[in-house]
Symmetry: C2
Subunit: 345 residues, 2 copies
Amino acid sequence: MIPGPFLLYLGHSDDEVGIKTSRGLAIFRTGDCVGEWRHDDCPLTLGLPLLAPAAARAAGARTLVLGIANAGGTLGEPLVRDAIAAIEAGLNVASGLHHRLRDEPRLVRAAKQAGVALFDVRDAPKDLPVGNGKPRAGNRLLTVGTDCSVGKMYATLALHAALRRRGIAADFRATGQTGILIAGAGVPLDAVVADFISGAIEMLAPARTDDGWDLIEGQGSLFHPSFAGVSTGLLHGAQPRAILLCHDPSRPHMRGLPHFRLPDLAECLAANLAVARLTSPDVLPVGVALNTVKLDEAAAHRLCADTGTALGMPCTDPFRFGADPFVDRMLQCFAPSPPPISASA
Amino acid sequence: MIPGPFLLYLGHSDDEVGIKTSRGLAIFRTGDCVGEWRHDDCPLTLGLPLLAPAAARAAGARTLVLGIANAGGTLGEPLVRDAIAAIEAGLNVASGLHHRLRDEPRLVRAAKQAGVALFDVRDAPKDLPVGNGKPRAGNRLLTVGTDCSVGKMYATLALHAALRRRGIAADFRATGQTGILIAGAGVPLDAVVADFISGAIEMLAPARTDDGWDLIEGQGSLFHPSFAGVSTGLLHGAQPRAILLCHDPSRPHMRGLPHFRLPDLAECLAANLAVARLTSPDVLPVGVALNTVKLDEAAAHRLCADTGTALGMPCTDPFRFGADPFVDRMLQCFAPSPPPISASA
């Protein structure tokens, strides 16, 4: 477990997409973030107090989160220097970069001297099992998508919040760097060797015997030719009772691939259900989550209503408008098991 | 490239499945195998002369192939001792075991002293690209299966031989340890991180502009809940013009999973075509390859005939009876491009 509260790193970033991990923590772990650390050339902000490491430590921060992505996921010289400054101020350092903190001797040495820890969240667990597909107890929902980066993590976390507000037990099961930093646990699927994808998810979301839900963060898309293998293994390992389809209506083509069209929503839903049925024959869709950030509120509501009508299921932007329509559908489709009948009844 | 001729290791093995890599080399690279090395307690044979390392070296062997699998893929003490003996006799050592030769200091030291090389064929190439699904030129066929270990490699190699006998250029593209040792090149898919499966296959079978064929060794099955992600990435990366469905009619359930039934052949074919169409919209099936090793010849012929009739395509056991029916179908479906028309015609 990575100790909070956090100081979120923006550094010299000038690209909104590049700071998505820091932003994810600012949004979903607001209470655990004491400030942001950015340099004068960084035009971005998370709306948190600007704090250098020593001031952040004094304000209670325990860990600097390097929540940025740069080309190649490397630890550049400015990043290493800043991380050392944070370590010397008494902060742990956490990173989801491809290049591991522990592979940089200067960081290892500095952390040892200062008595703080380095956290590489992109490390896959050792000794992952091969998936076995055996039916296991419990309610599991998996978010699936028409494409990569359409809002699966945001939808999963919004649903998590909505379920908890209704008093329903729910756990967010993270499969990507940002999700893992938010949850404090998870499996970084993009570091798992192909033979172990479904096994990793079986381990991440094991049998549960209460009426609560495991909400599993999806990755990729069955229609993305780079990553459909990952999405397939996720569906089989998740053994979901429910899937929630996520979509970004502003996406002109598959991410990074101008030669690939987006799938039709009904087609995408049918394909996901067909693959999911191998390990979860009774899987049901509970709705469509749209990422409407580029639409004004009226247009967003209209698109959600039209999409829901066309597909015959709840449709909303769960991050913008709340995930209650999905919760309602889940309660309707998956009634909690009745209390056991006592022998004397 | 691993230098032949080979000495094939059986060691103390007493399990036919455990020596499948040595057997694969004995069958498909017969002319490059000078002998087998087994101890007195090994009841198995490949039908090759029994040779200890020094005698094998004298007979021209260049490399000892540790073509056996043991529980966990580890290098046990007897294996290490035997490998050192081979090195001291002047042989290189090649292995597809999970535990790498280069991680055993005694082997590294001995090989350095003797001036020979160690080959770990399970190493994935560095810097694999992410797949892009861009249409690329060339004829590619992928073997797909109802299950794991139903004979995809044998079918691919039998087809390779049949095409070459007809004077058609063909390359076998290996994706597993045994295939890589047979081909002398390939990508060990089970060591590739999930995000790079389709990219690895795009690299393994790049665009080709002759009328020849890349024959890609399939892995797993879309219906095997442990490995369907790998099979999906393979289909997308291969971008196959043709698929050949492989099946073992004696298999009672999915390998290792008594709770999973085998898919119906037509259902399996349809699912593979649907997934393949994402990157290869015009993909065609060219036949069904049955592994009939457990049937007598008459029963095998009958089953092939019945299966072919039911599915409306060629069906045979290509390893037992030759792959010519598939070659005929490929020539029929994919006529070679006509010679360019000269301007004066």
